[in-house]
Symmetry: C2
Subunit: 312 residues, 2 copies
């Protein structure tokens, strides 16, 4: 497959096919799936303004210095990495325009529920099979989909900026539950140390979700300080990523991989079922059942049972 | 059913059962579903800082003056309405503590994809059957789930604050696609008129999603200015809601209701299928299929086909 052999245009085309769920994509994914499973999938999530994209750019820089290849999937409609809002980041990213070991891709946050994490999982498998050492999945970190996407990674980094308002503090609680590593960025600002201390206190109590068993995690995640704009703290973050990955041969990592597999398989099964309900054989029965629900003549539970009985 | 007869504690208990998907909830929903379909479901969505909760409080005030009953489903982990971050709003809301025609409920944004919109749809049906005239569904408006929840309403109001940064401008594009009415809140600030003009220009081109056919909408949504803190513009917003509802006897509104029914039925069918895969008969086959995918010994498409064949 040209897409896996270093042909960047073929890779970009395959990712587009994956996002659009074409038959070509399915055939390719079935073929390449056994080759995937070697990359380190790192989710990086945090609210707008936390300096996420600047940190992603700094991580890319350090990894390239170390001779490692890196791909970025930006699942963020407002990402300056792909949207081009921050000139500084754009200039930094353009330095890698000719570098075959850096690949950046924006994922559209559209479609039905689960579609985003399914497409992102498939795109990560493509980049993994294409041989990238590290795959960064950048999400904006508000909303359930983003949390799901973040939880899909081997290692999830949650970013915070110091001294944010009360509303962001409240959002934090949900995000911290998926964190393996917490980074307080803009670490040179006043309040950064205090924010880190507060987060450490919160994290002792917070359980880890997405591991499928609901048990509290064995130990609280590390809290690090970075200043992405200057690169300070970035080597320490990369070391923490390595440590988390190396530790990840235990049951926690196995549970993460199993949960990721389940989410992928489930999304495909749901799509298969949905398309069966709308195929020429079932289309008109499906439509009349749904119309009866819209008219409140049939309750949605009875309708669900009817639809499932129809396709079986 | 006591929950429908004005017993607020029974109503709260039923909503908890609905959120937790208990068998009691299913039985109750099947019974009450034919009684639902009379309320006006209004989605209100916008980024943190746009003054959403203050506007919700102002809307409640005006509706009560007009003798109409109102329920709020706050699907926002950071909502000051339920989270209590903004003292002013809390004081305003406490004025309704003894008012049986105001009901406020926070929905947890947790669980698997689609779970949130399914639970919110079911909760709205309960409040609808309980006789509330208007049901406000408040979401934070970032992320796919929130957009889905917003699109579930009969009328979707998207809130913006004047003079927000570039990142928020980019988020806007996705949100505007679900808007039936756009409100520029904090309308007394400099830049509000300019923001409204920019939005009007953007909206002429933006299609409407969630109507199931992908056609551009017949006309651009209204753009209104409000100052929620003083109540200015709120009567005009309520009038616009009424106009949108009155116009909603056409194909656009029918498509919205059909899409809502489909989302509800689909979420239930998916849950049914998922629980079947994990029931005692199928549990071990499901687990070994998923483990094979996690180990990259089986591709997720083959696994999905295997699981679907298993339960049929």
């Amino acid at each position: 497959m040209a897409a896996l052999g270093g042909d960047r245009r073929a890779l970009a085309r395959l990712l587009t096919a994956v996002e659009n769920r074409t038959p070509v994509a399915e055939a390719a994914l079935r073929e390449l799936y056994p080759k995937a499973g070697r990359a380190h999938l790192v989710g990086i999530t945090g609210p707008p303004g936390s300096g996420k994209s600047t940190l992603v750019a700094a991580i890319i820089g350090r990894l390239r210095e170390a001779g490692r290849s890196v791909a970025v999937l930006a699942v963020d409609p407002s990402s300056p990495i792909t949207g081009g809002a921050l000139l500084g980041d754009r200039v930094r990213m353009q330095a890698y325009a000719g570098d075959r070991d850096v690949f950046i891709r924006s994922m559209a946050a559209r479609g039905h529920a689960g579609g985003l994490s399914s497409a992102t999982g498939a795109a990560a498998a493509v980049l993994d099979a294409a041989g990238f050492d590290l795959i960064l999945i950048e999400t904006v970190g508000t909303g359930q989909s983003e949390v799901e996407v973040a939880a899909m990674a081997d290692t999830t980094v949650v970013l915070e900026a110091p001294e944010m308002g009360d509303e962001v503090q409240a959002i934090k609680a949900g995000l911290l539950e998926v964190a393996d590593i917490v980074v307080v960025n803009k670490g040179d600002r006043p309040g950064a140390q205090r924010t880190a201390a507060q987060l450490r206190a919160m994290l002792v109590a917070a359980p880890k979700v997405g591991r499928g068993d609901g048990r509290p995690r064995p130990k609280a995640p590390e809290v690090l300080l970075t200043t992405a704009a200057t690169g300070e703290g970035v080597p320490q973050l990369l070391a923490a990523l390595e440590r988390h990955r190396a530790a990840g041969q235990g049951s926690d990592a196995a549970a993460t991989r199993l949960a990721r597999a389940e989410a992928q398989v489930w999304a495909i099964a749901a799509e298969r079922l949905r398309s069966r309900l709308h195929d020429p054989t079932h289309r008109s029965a499906t439509a009349s059942t749904l119309r009866a629900v819209a008219d409140h003549d049939l309750d949605p539970y009875a309708a669900a049972d009817r639809l499932l009985a129809d396709v079986e």
